[in-house]
Amino acid sequence: MTAKRTILTGIFLLVIVLGLFPILAMIAASLHADGRWTFDSYQGLLTSRREWALLRHSFVLAASVSLLTALFGVPLGILFGKTDFPMRRFFTIAFTVPLMIPPYITAIGWADFLGANGLFAKLCGEAAAGAAYNLLFGFTGCLFVLFSTFLPVVILLTMTSLKSVHPRLEDAGRLVTGWPGVLRRITVPLILPSILFGIILVFLLTIGEFGVPNFLRYDVFVLESFVQFSAFYNFGAATAAVLPLALFTVLALLIEWVFLRERFHEVQTVPEKAASPVIELGGCRTGSFVWTAVFCLTVVALPLTVLVGRSFSVSVYASALAVASDSLLRSLVYAVLGASLLSLVGFFMGYLVGRQALPFWRTADTLTIFLFALPSAVIGIGLISLWNRPLTNFIYGSSTMIIIGYLVKYAALTSRITASTLSMIPQSMEDAGELAGLGWMRRIGWIVAPMARKGLLGGWLVGYVFCLRDLETTMIIYPPGHETLPVRIMTLMANSPPERIAALCVVMACATVVPPALAWSLVSLKRGGRNHETH
């Protein structure tokens, strides 16, 4: 009991020190000016019409993206996770690609496609291209790019949660009605908490997103905080300007608490070998395949193909790698380290939350989600305020800062993935280990971790992808000479040849997609081999 309490409390304290202290330091700084405590920074908040308009923009954009991802993501998740849809594994990976690369790369791809010299102008004429280009730069473009980026969140959560629906319930339902009725009355209501969690996640990700609205010139509230940083150099006002977004985050978490939490943890335990019934699409198979393929080509393949097309030359890639190979290597190393530490911290945080192991489990969960949803600029400046001191210079001056940034920002992801995985591992397994005289650490090492290995691997891959694509946090805290590839692409974007930027975007996309795809293939191969041995 002591080991469990010590380790879980230690990990929780680590997240508090690394994540919460910088934010508290920022808030304290915003309340302290000229040697006295003051609310000056907060007095002007939300007093102008523009601030309300920006808040409305942020809310409408986030709500629209969430709604659209739910409308498309749930059917696609069911299609890929529950039916005999052809090439469903391929499509699952394909739709996940935009989530794996920085969203601004997708935006660049679309801007290239619809630009004056782009493919669309050649196909449809300059007038049509001009109209489409104008449509891209604004609400519509932001909605579309962020929709394609966050669509896989809902697809994957739907697919994962479908596995937790006990086949017996669906089999019973099919005795009295067909698949549409079973889906409507049994399956979807059972996975609704996961779907709603996905919607909330997309909402929070969209509302904190700065890169895409900035590139596509759509004013959102994050911009307000940014203006305070960049035009007024006023850290206090910038912190204050984040307050409304923080309130949105808290509100979203409250909704989750009130409506979803209890149901989320009531997930059925499904035996691993229990075969989930598959919906046969029959005559709809071809039609749904064509529709999905066209949709995938439009949303996923087109912007990336445009980038590949623009950079299609060996010399362009050679020059791109000549200026950015060191950044690429650094990115890969930091992402591997970040993902590994995230898996470790996320595992114990996830255990704390998933098993409700200590009284403060809810606080721990809220804290990680809150840090995930906070704008990166605030986290970055907070980390600088906390760590840039002579005593801690050995940390601040090294790449450890980048890893700390990853831990603070993305602990929620690996924590939630672990919590979700643990919900499928019966508590009785641990109880049996305890009866057999195993201590907590041994139970974790010999029972829980091995049984949760797929979830751990999934968490590691998610951590890897998010660390590798991270831009906003890294950009603020990276030590001199340690820039990562996403940062380098951004700093090179001003006045660099577009072909070189396109090539770097393609390299970035490959670096993000290839390792997880290889890991997926290896696991599949191993699983296939084992099944073969069994048969």
């Binding site: 523009r50 010139r217 380290l337 470790l344 601040y396 090294s398 397994m429 090492g445 700093t491 006045n495």
Partner: protein
């Protein structure tokens, strides 16, 4: 269950710890050494990095740099310098305009250094107390559609009814547009400058997010003219766009155009002051100015008799607005609330 326990056990966890512990300790291998220089750069990386590489090659001093991004309106590293004031990490700051340098001087983040390499640079481009020194300038110019029969020749075209709804200007809260407007407030006084701003609004001027976007609007024919930096205009001309660059207000008795030099400063409490001074000297040299003139940023050298490409006018052939950068820096901060209100923020 049994095979799982036997196959995976606790050993992989231990290996995992070891695997992440080794590279974690190696992260500190990249920590700062004594013989190096750390520079924060607001000038575009594509132009500044080759200069820094040349410095490293010629002196053998390693350079570690943090570059700014367009996304942060080139103010990211400045915010970082302010945040790091208590424990400075950078030795040198290369600003892409002198107002940031002046603000840093006022915040106590700059240290005085009179570089011998800047002896020939005119005094008006240097801080008299040595806190920053200007070099290689951009000029604020009008980019106009080449097809126009009659072309705007003055900043005042923005308030001329002839150009109603045909001009575009970058968001005045950021960058060189703020600097130019602040300079006009200083030159004309608040009342006349505010009348000018109101006139621009009445004349339906379009607001873009950046000078680059303004130049694109003109190049694509969506607007007729815009006040931009000379590098934006030269860049579009070299891309073959149908635009021309006009140096505004060059006639007799007119105010002239505004010159925006780069500025370099020594950071107060710099960890490597000796190397920092060498780098500053290098940046302020004639050779660096020549390289920046021939690069795509097409910057105007401030040293006399530095070779330039034909599409760049030498500094002594330009009529320029007389500017006290310290005064303009103060004005920039003073007029921000007015500009915010003017934009309807």
């Amino acid at each position: 269950m049994k095979p799982i326990v036997v196959r995976y056990g606790i050993r992989p966890l231990a290996c995992f710890f070891v695997l992440i512990a080794i590279p974690l300790t190696s992260l500190h291998c990249g920590k700062n050494s004594a013989n190096e220089v750390i520079i924060y750069v607001s000038e575009d990386q594509v132009f500044s990095e080759p200069i820094l590489n040349d410095f490293r090659r010629e002196t053998g001093i390693p350079v570690k740099a943090v570059f700014d991004t367009e996304e942060s309106k080139s103010t990211g590293v400045m915010n970082r310098l302010i945040a790091e004031k208590g424990n400075p990490q950078a030795d040198v700051y290369w600003a892409n305009e002198p107002i940031r340098a002046e603000v840093l001087k006022q915040k106590g983040i700059a240290a005085p250094y009179f570089s011998p390499a800047a002896r020939d640079i005119p005094e008006k481009f240097k801080d008299p107390e040595g806190y920053w020194t200007g070099f290689s300038a951009r000029v604020r110019v009008l980019i106009v559609r080449a097809a126009l029969a009659e072309k705007p020749q003055s900043v005042l075209s923005y308030v001329d009814p002839l150009w109603n709804g045909r001009g575009v200007i970058a968001n005045p809260l950021f960058g060189t547009t703020t600097v130019e407007l602040a300079a006009l407030f200083v030159l004309w006084g608040d009342d006349r400058a505010k009348t000018f701003m109101t006139g621009m609004k009445k004349n339906n001027v379009r607001i873009s997010t950046s000078n680059g976007e303004s130049a694109d609007f003109v190049a694509s024919g969506q607007s007729d003219f815009s006040l931009v930096d000379s590098d934006d205009a030269v860049n579009r001309m070299r891309q073959g766009k149908s635009v021309q660059m006009i140096y505004p207000d060059q006639g007799s008795g007119e105010m002239g155009c505004m010159v925006v030099p780069n500025a370099v400063l020594l950071v107060n409490g710099a960890p490597h002051p000796a190397q920092a001074k060498k780098l500053i000297d290098y940046l302020l040299s004639k050779e660096t100015e020549r390289k920046l003139a021939f690069a795509d940023c097409a910057q105007v050298p401030l040293h006399p008799s530095v070779e330039t490409p034909p599409d760049i006018r030498a500094i002594d052939r330009l009529s320029t607005i007389p500017i006290n950068y310290a005064e303009v820096a103060r004005k920039v901060l003073e007029i921000q609330p007015y500009l915010k209100a003017w934009l309807g923020y």
